[in-house]
């Protein structure tokens, strides 16, 4: 198991190199006058040229990439064109906020969705099943930025229960977390339900019942662990879309996270900053997927034996 984890962590290196190449390449395709964006419309042409020279933007792409990779090899994510600060510092000063949002969003989604999914599956075709499935479908179908706006109108403007933006205190967390978590929640609920429905039709569940296991334990002791396998996959995948969704949610709620920083950096063509964000997001996503795979091993012995 340890070997497996170490192997997977080592596998991160080619992923980081690949991702950095991919993004660097895409960003270099993009036309954009970085210096002008930083200096504003009123800066004279001499200042623009001086800044381009200082940032090394006049060099060919491959040289810039080489320089970037040299830095990366030493663990240096480079310096933001726009702020002149280290990208690592920039991203890390915002990362806790994004992580906070993602963590609570995921927790909100998981804590609600799994019980709802189980109840829906065990009472298939009941009222509670129909209601939760309609909500789950709506949750999947609703664009989260739209939901965010509607929540602001309802809970911030009319009811005045929660602030419309910012990140101070738990109250500011409520609406963004709901906005971010709803899509995930809907997806996980649906997966839990269908996975549970499939599992409770399995022969081993009948075996368990024939052994005299009561219906509660049939669900929680025998079915749940098996049903969780696809659910865990979905949670891992949802985490990726959660990071993507965080960009929009952060925009709607003026949340000071990496997503907002990333969008602004993309717009300003601040390549090192974009790369830094994407690399850190990717590492984060990969580590979450690794955790998912480790979790698999704990849930499913068939998978665990493959890791050895």
């Amino acid at each position: 198991m340890h070997k497996y984890v170490i192997k997977r962590l080592i596998m991160l290196i080619p992923v980081v190199i690949g991702v950095s190449f991919l993004v660097f390449f895409i960003m270099s395709l993009a036309p954009g006058d970085t210096a002008r964006t930083i200096l504003g419309e009123d800066a004279p042409i001499e200042a623009i040229e001086a800044l381009n020279e200082e940032l090394g933007l006049n060099d060919p792409v491959l040289i810039r990439y080489g320089r970037y990779m040299m830095g990366l090899a030493h663990g240096d994510l480079g310096t933001s064109y726009k702020s002149g600060r280290s990208v690592f510092t920039e991203v890390m000063s915002r990362f806790p906020d994004t992580l906070k949002l993602a963590f609570w969003g995921m927790l909100f989604a998981v804590v609600l969705s799994i019980p709802i999914g189980i109840i829906s599956a065990t009472r298939q075709y009941s009222l509670i099943d129909s209601v939760s499935m309609v909500f789950a479908l709506l949750g999947v179908a609703t664009p989260n930025f739209w939901l965010g706006l509607m929540l602001i109108i309802g809970f911030s403007l009319h009811l005045r229960w929660f602030p419309s933006g910012g990140s101070e205190g738990w109250k500011a967390l409520v609406l963004p977390v709901i906005t971010l978590g709803t899509g995930c929640m809907a997806n996980i609920t649906r997966t839990t339900r269908s996975s549970m429905l499939e599992v409770i039709r399995q022969d081993y569940i009948r075996t368990a019942k024939a052994k005299g296991v009561n219906s509660r334990n049939v669900i929680y002791k025998h079915a749940l662990k098996n049903a969780l396998i696809p659910v865990v996959t979905v949670i891992g995948l949802q985490f990726g879309s959660l990071l993507g969704g965080a960009v929009l949610t952060e925009a709607v709620f003026s949340w000071p996270g990496v997503g907002t920083f990333l969008v602004n950096s993309i717009k300003a063509k601040d390549t090192p900053a974009v790369l830094g964000c994407v690399i850190i997001f990717s590492i984060c996503f990969s580590i979450v997927n690794l955790c998912v795979d480790i979790l698999y091993a704990y849930i499913d012995p068939r998978i665990k034996s493959k890791y050895k």
Partner: protein, 515 residues
Amino acid sequence: MKKALCTILAGAMAVSLLAGCGGGGADSGKGEGGAAGGSQVINIGINTDVSSLDPHNHNDTASAYATRHIYSNLVRLTDNNEFVGDLAEKWEFVDDVTVEFTLKEGVKFHDGSTLTAEDVKYSLESQKESPKVGHLVSMVDSVEVKDDTHFVIHMNTPSNALISSLNHSGCAIFSKAHVEKLLAEGKKIEDEPMGTGPYKFENWTPGASFTLVKNPDYFDSQRMAQNDKLVFKVISEDSARTIALENGELDLLIDVPFTDAGKIRDNDKLALDEYVSTHVDYFTVNETKPPFDNVKVRQALSHAINKEDVVIAAINGEGKAFDNYIGEAAIGYYDVVTKYDYDVEKAKALLEEAGYGDGFTFNCYVSNAKRANSATVIQANLAELGITMNIEQMEASTFYEKTGNSEHDSCIAGWVANAEPDNTYRPLFTSGNAGAGGNRSFYMNPEVDKLVDDAAVNSDKAAVQKDYETVLKTLSEDAVWVPLFAQTGLIARNADLQGVNPSPIQMHDFYSVHY
């Protein structure tokens, strides 16, 4: 005795607030605002974050909100568009290229040290090395220190822009000792910003907010802060910003969304301050590309666009249709331009004359939603003349690059004039700045170049005015732009808040704001 007690109380409040470290930011000073001695925290809503707290490392409005309050400049601009001394007591032009300055006595930095001419020399000379604001002092050749309060600026060329530039936030004055200490420790200026301004830096949470606290030892008692703390909150989503103001999370809102202006006016608890800004949005064609090299076509476009509709669609009516090339409130504005009224028939006739009666197709680059809205109206207007305009919206960085490379047929851009007219006329209309320099019309007229050059150095104010008037007349006759609108400056606030003093060039000071 009573006064002393008040001071002690205020001090105690400040300490407790510092200890609380912004915990209760939301419940601002509003409630206890009226009570004497109560701590006043003013929450200000802005739409973009600070990019840097080092005045030499930024050139944007949001960052200037922070640095202009922490640092002071040698000169400042009054409400009447006059330059007066800030740190400088006075100055005198010895000749075209030599200016003698006298500093105010006993100005203290936030760390208690006293400002000297050496600090000024250090600040201006290190500024020249900055790629971001070095250009502002490109005319400065050297700074010669006479004694602690006297120094001379030697210029390498005559320039009318020196004094106005010194008012720019990039020309802030640092403490030499402090900066050298920071650099020696391997830190950066922005790690511990410290100047002589009315506020001290407290903290900055990137992307979220930055906080300034009152400097009780500020040198200019007339401009002493009337509140205790300024908290700038970054809320990028328009509607959320307004809601934050309505909910009392903000006391003051600088970047008021145009679509919400009416709602703020109608709200008894809020007030909307309108001011004439120097912000102008314009539509321009690329004159290197036919048919736009034909002045008749440009004039036809000027007649074809319904600016009133543009004003409604782009800025929700919060401004007025405009015909000039520089904002009304700006230094360098003269009402001398040829006006083109909205007249579709005349436009048709001009197009016929030019030989384009059947219309043509071209692209229009825009870099944000507001300008895309303007473009959408123009698109519909031009469709009536059989002209097809394809709008391409892109990010600002892409816009700058593509228009700089002359890839556009036309574009919509905007301009906020600052205190120095040369900073408007030169980049926008001279041949040397065609393309990336700012002249996205690619308008190249040696006459105009000559006039702008003369206005920059001529010490005769009447001659400068005549130069600029001629430039404006020429531009409008050539129909270089279709100026679209001048947008009204808007600041929204809690109705009880007083002392808001907007600046036409958006360099607002907040020291006077209080309940």
